[in-house]
Amino acid sequence: MAIHEIRVGYIGQDTKGQEVASEAQRTIGLSGLEKVRTAKVYRLEGATDEDALRLAQTLLAEPIDQIFTIDQPLITDTLQIVEVAYQLGVMNPEADSIMKSAKDLGINLTAADSSTEYGFYGTVDQEEVAQVVNRLLVNKIVEQVVYEKPQTLIIKGEPGIVEIIPIRSASADEMAALSKDKLFLSDQEMKVIQSHCITLGRDPYDGELETIAARWSEHCGHKTFRAKVIVDGVEKPPLFTRISETAKKYFGNEVVSAFDDNSGVMKFYDGQAICGKVETHNSPSAIEPYGGAMTGSGGVFRDILGTGQGAKIVISTDMFCFAPPDLDPSKLPEGTLHPDYLQRRVVAGVRDYGNRMGIPTNNGSVHYHEDFRAKPTVIVGSYGIIPENRAQKGQPEIGDLVVIIGGRTGRDGIHGATFSSGEMTERTINVNSSAVQIGNAIEEKRMADAIIEARDKDLIRAITDCGAAGFSSAVGEMGENTGVVVDIEKAPLKYPGLSPWEIWLSESQERMVASIDPSKINEFLNVCKKYNAEATVIGHFDDSNKLTVKYGDQMVVDLDYDFLKNGLPQRTMNAHWEKSESDEAFIEMPIDWIDTFKKVLSHGNVASKEPIVRQYDHGVQGTNVLPPFGGEKFDGPNDAVVITPILGKPYGMIVAHGINPILNRIDPYWGSVWATAEAMANYVAVGGDPDEAVLVNNYIWPFPDEDAMGSLDLSVDAVVDCMNALERPVISGKDSLSSTYRGKDGQVIKIPPVLCMSVFGRIPDIEKTVTSDIKKENSSLYLVGALDRGMAGSTYYDVNGLVGDEVPKIDLKVLPAVLRGVHEAIKSGEVLACHDVSEGGIISAISEMAFGGDCGVELSLSAQMQRPDLFLFNETAGTFVVEVENDEIANNLFGTLPYIRLGKTTQAKTINVKVGEDDLFTVPTDELKQAWQEPLRRIFH
């Protein structure tokens, strides 16, 4: 039956069209473009004329403010019309909804799809329209321009066959070619596989080779973190060993599980535990930012869902690093996307996944540096709550059934695990397009609802998510202590035509694998059915100690676990890092203080991120008791988030993080100490107890050559030293070592190394927390903590075009006492407001407190101070600006710590700074606020 096309447009305001027009004007500068009109195009296969009319009237077009046409154009008053659709094979989540709703109306469609038509008006030529389409509307990885109406929407295909790869006889060149775009393994690793096959006496199936490559990939195998490290000729224990061995010393009684489950777990209150996991999704986000960010969020949510017997997700976080959005497009390396586009699409991806899932996104940050132009860093975190007696990682028992839950399997995301372990090149965007997937948050929500109910009914023995390498890693790892047999012909597919190895390796989103006791299988399947979550039994666990995968009668994988688990040779990595020679920057005192101050406040790293945060639902679940922004006008930024994951109970869960790529690049050791101190300071600034905190560390580093390995080694040393100083453990972490770009002209860009340190913990009473907004007129402000003089990498230097040599060195002997002291002070109830010092320095922290309080401050610096600029713009992490009533209270609270009085709060809305008796400058608070808010408002209007 023919396809009916129904076009739907707005009668009046077309907000989507307006958005496109204003983005085209802002980012491309098309002043002749007067307006853009949009029409949604629905294609229905298998509908009669009557059905099509009924669906148009009842389902597809709104009766009040929309019009529709059937098999006729809708936009008729311009010739410049472009239709944008998903590429064939990229699943459009809306298609399912159309089919479902049609069925509810008694109409059975055979297929459906939707896309969007854009009509351009004004004096724009074809070339300009093409520019808008290419830069703003179509991401060629997943979308395409539709030139003619498709004949059918049904994807047909014959299942592929199992191939045998003649690796035993392969030459070195053939082995290298096999590795290059497909397996991403080293020569040594390829040889190990070759000799194993020679011993076995047979060549491997394609599925086997893929399984080994995925299992041994950097992404899954963490080869660098487990490698023997030789630093300047001296052997040191592997990075992971150093982290985990140190961490173990500080687990105490409260750590429930660390490093061995999908997230780290600590005890909470009332028999509950809380857990956290942080992930990166840089490679996919670099080439398709919307889908990449969505599936990044979806993946880390499943890590929480796949913890213990299933944890409920309660917080989402996001930390991004981009090139500045106003980057000159000519500086973009080939095959990369402009940061303005990247940033908007990444934010949209996080927004659309988190909001739809109903997970409050309530902590995050954005950082800018030109060298992220080659590849952004996109970090997503997720946190959960779970009954303590369900919080241990499950272990399948022999005879348990292997059940897959959630979305269907398609060709999307093949080679994600191996791809994300490779460096980015100008070919990446073409060769690896199948590694990018579109997320469907509602699919995951259905699955999450089902899993939590099944957990509460004690129906789940073990559960894990399908992330990188799909079933291969999820089923493969789950069965590794027993043995497992599955038939992947049973896995429901999105469309036919997949080869067996593709089904096995596919990274289609929203899928999980569970181990279910056969006596509970019916009840489990019923719970899934209630929530419309598809669940299918595909095999069982046995005592074979083998990984056996079949496709019907055909063998796909027949591997001994012994080889998979232990065959990977340990790497030896040389490390050597040398600080680049640079003189300490010399900077004059500002001549125009106010101008300099505004430049600092409007620097991307300091500017208000409120326009991004407002697009995230941070209030869903009703748990938020200290949101990202508060204060008189709800625009004062807070340092961390506090939630009550058990509604009605006073127990608080706090999440914060610290990150500073620029400091890491100048000095990986002290930059990493800074990030850790910043994470803890953010956490403590709202009322977090430093002795009830656990850490999650993420390393996003350039490809580990000797130099990168050297800086990584130093960063790990810093984290180990911080754990020892704070006496708190890291309980989860991840590494992503592919932040290097290689262009075909030999251009190499090493993206700044990023240590993102996240922290979470518990407090018994959320009433003992504090926000950053100034609360009272005529109260006093103090700086608590020890400042270091290092200014390298500061915002103040950056706005003056300088980098510098000496970064702030945080005194780890003083830091723990400061953190505990500030925590005790907040607990006493005497602290009115507290804000930690970070990018932008002390004066920026104070200003933000005044923005929240909608008030002013008078700061009185010592007459002896020679360089007030180096004080006011100092960015030593682990120091705090604190508002209390008066000096006496301050002395009681902070008498044993390094602290100084800064000044007082005023009703008059000005920021006034005096050195001795002399006025340095006075500026209206609102003028500064304007400078601070404007940069991101321009982009996220």
């Binding site: 305001q13 958005e19 709104e62 909804s97 909001n355 209630k530 419309n532 639902d617 009703g622 926000t771």
Partner: protein
């Protein structure tokens, strides 16, 4: 805390039965259950599949709540697919519940969108839409606290006597209330407008962001002729406790302003 939440045991035993309806993508159900429970309702989360399969029936309840979220991903239009599902499979149950049993209905955010798209609001014309909630003027989803004024004279039966300005959170991308002139006139004439976006003094406003979506006549919530169905875009269930407000630390006299809606529904239903 400024306001202790006392658990009234007697009310809990005889409190009305509340059905919180859930389906794919609904995500404000837990806090809605919590809000009704705190208010004294006996609350149950019911999946629409359970109603469709006759495992449960609206007849067992006095209050029906449609919580917020993204039902079926808000594909095509927000709340559309759930509205059509209600109209296709549960029209009789809903008619019995609303008109026969005279039960109370609350729709928040996505729930409001469902009520409007099903036709239940504003005029009880199930299967026929008379108004719509369309894209915010800003063109995107937005989460912020806003002021709302309760209309002194409105047709909602269970909010009688409640007045003044309240602070609630909005979190939506499609919340602009829109209707043709005649329909809008009738809504106003019949006093169906219950809540309007306002400035802090209570003056209705079209100004962004105080009016976060550009709703006509600053409409944030409406009722039907019977006054027993209330739909609103802002989230009262997110303000059941003082500490849910971003500024409870600087506003010691603040009350949890979302709770009264649930308390009044529960009280009204228990006196029916």
């Amino acid at each position: 805390m400024a306001r202790a939440i006392k658990e009234d045991i007697s009310l809990k035993e005889r409190g009305p039965q509340v059905c919180v309806l859930k389906t794919d993508g609904i995500n404000c159900d837990e806090e809605t259950v919590n809000a009704f429970s705190v208010a004294g309702g006996r609350t149950k989360t019911v999946h629409i599949n359970e109603l469709r399969a006759n495992e449960d029936n609206l007849n067992n309840y006095q209050i029906l709540a449609l919580p917020g979220g993204f039902s079926y991903g808000d594909d095509i239009a927000s709340g559309k697919i759930l509205a059509l599902e209600l109209n296709s499979y549960l029209a009789d149950q809903i008619d019995d519940f609303v008109n026969g049993k005279k039960g109370l209905v609350l729709g928040v955010c996505n729930g409001f969108q469902v009520l409007v798209r099903s036709g239940l609001l504003p005029f009880g014309t199930m299967g026929e839409m008379k108004a719509t909630l369309t894209n915010n003027d800003s063109g995107h989803f937005e989460c912020r606290w806003i002021d709302l004024r309760i209309e002194d004279d409105n047709a909602c039966v269970f909010l009688e006597g409640m007045n003044g300005v309240m602070s609630y959170q909005v979190a939506h991308g499609e919340g602009k209330f829109f209707a043709e002139g005649q329909v809008l006139d009738q809504i106003e004439r019949e006093k169906l407008v219950v809540l309007r976006y306002s400035d802090p003094l209570g003056n209705p406003t079209q100004q962004y962001p105080e009016n976060p979506n550009g709703s006509l006549n600053a409409i944030a919530g409406i009722t039907d002729f019977s006054g027993r169905i209330l739909g609103l875009m802002p989230h009262p269930e997110r303000f059941i406790r003082l500490t849910q407000h971003p500024n409870w630390r600087r506003m010691p006299n603040l009350e949890p302003q979302g709770l009264p809606i649930f308390e009044r529904m529960v009280n009204y239903a228990s006196q029916m």
